[in-house]
Amino acid sequence: MSQSPLSSQLDAERAGMLERAAGSVLAIETQRMRQSAFVWRGGLLVTAAEPLEGAELVRILKDGSTSDGEVLACDLRTDIAVLRVAEPPGPPLAPATSSPRPGQLILVAGRARAHVSASFGSVQLNTGPWTTRRGATLSHRLLLDVRLAPCAEGAPVLDLEGSVLAMAVRGPANQVIGIPADAIDAAVGEVAAHGRIAQGYLGVRVVPLALGLQARHRLDAGRAVLIVADVAQPSPAFDAGLEIGDLLLAIDGEAVQGPDRLLGRIQGKRPGESMLLKRRRGTAIDEVPVTLGSRP
């Protein structure tokens, strides 16, 4: 049976779009891993941070040639790493202007050495603001229904116009997650301006205490409290008067979940931003405003 003219036309458009975008996608590798990266504004490269595992130099492979890329920033919270190369290998990919819709068709354009590795799929889920396991707050939680080739981690997720909706990374339970384009843009902007991605710092070590039902009622707390086990000196926590033994009940009005979440809340903010801690000391409960600093 012959293909209908419409579908063959769509197919040709898709192939053409992929070809254009693929010029800005590269394979990168270290001794441990191979993944994809793509060109963003300012000629900086973007890829997934987690698989880099602290590497500071990666080999960049494109069209049979090899060059070095320097890792400028590696943000484990958002899973975004920003790299610099001597010469941008292609024009920057443009971020999509509209928010991804569930069911929207997508193309993940990765690269394995010299070859383009494309996977076709759709946006499975797009919910509002989302705080990741590592604590970064992203504008969307994007779950992608697509097969992600091993080499395609860190590859751009394109809409059918060739604009970037997100970066594809592997999540828990073999999920494929999209790190939204606005987060990528913010990270690259920050690296371009400051040379790194600044994270907030409070200066406490905390230990979680899970609470039983009775204790929750007595303390007027959620499922857990955090007990301050140490306060750094000097630090924003010290300046705000936090002490060892203080119980933290809520952060910015949200009942405490655990130290992971606090870490995310803190690192999700920039130095100079403030947060409000609901603190219990002895029997007294008060709200402690803290202005975050940066890690010494």
């Binding site: 602290g54 590592r134 039983g212 992971d260 606090l262 890690r295």
Partner: protein
């Protein structure tokens, strides 16, 4: 002999703890009504022992201070379940005792602590969750003093990892070789049962070993 500090938020509880000590033929060196005051008291005494009660987790505030000074703390708790799986034990309590308690029992327990022993009621072996209510199962056994704690060097290094620095940058910052950094990282990963840097950072945060 040890100097016993009675610490509780509530005056009635302090009086009750005192009376139990007296019933056991012991006396308290001092009474503390607030966690911050405990900090000052512990700094002055040579061989203190903190006795606190009777509710969890309010007593955790005193426990944290005692652990911060490496001072043993005995908790008298009115909780329904007390065994080696109780979070207070994971958080470094030297003794978990049921409240109310007989004077003689309290005396024996405090003597045992003085010998450097830890005292848990019940027959459940350490780490057993058999006697714990369902609601508390799966609570992480984080501790003020974890069982295989990170060294000060490892903590410093992990904080740099948390800040997103690569191995080479960490080596530069600490003035060590990159192999030393890798060696420390391997040790950190083993202690925290982590496979990646991100896992190590989360695990350390959960265990209260990372400055946030």
């Amino acid at each position: 002999m040890v100097q016993i500090i009675v610490a509780a938020l509530d005056a009635e509880v302090r009086a009750a703890l005192q009376s139990r000590l007296e019933a056991g033929g012991l006396g308290a060196t001092g009474e503390i009504d607030a966690p911050a005051a405990l900090d000052r008291a512990l700094a002055e005494l040579t061989e203190p022992l903190v006795l606190t009660g009777v509710r969890w987790p309010e007593t955790a505030q005193f426990l944290a201070h005692a652990c911060g000074h490496a001072v043993p703390a005995a908790l008298l708790l009115a909780d329904e379940w007390l065994d080696a799986g109780h979070p207070a034990f994971h958080h470094g309590a030297a003794a978990l005792l049921p409240w109310p308690i007989a004077g003689a029992t309290l005396r024996h327990a405090l003597e045992a602590i003085d010998y450097g022993l830890r005292v848990v009621p019940g027959s459940a072996p350490p780490g057993s969750a058999s006697a714990r209510p369902a609601a508390s199962r799966g609570a992480p056994p984080a501790a003020f003093a974890p069982r295989s704690p990170l060294s000060a060097r490892e903590r410093t290094l992990l904080e740099l990892v948390a800040a997103g620095l690569g191995n080479k940058a960490i080596a530069r910052k600490l003035g060590v070789s990159i192999n030393t950094v890798k060696y420390h990282l391997a040790s950190i990963f083993a202690k925290l049962d982590a496979r990646t840097r991100a896992e190590a950072v989360s695990a350390a945060a959960r265990r209260g070993e990372l400055m946030l």
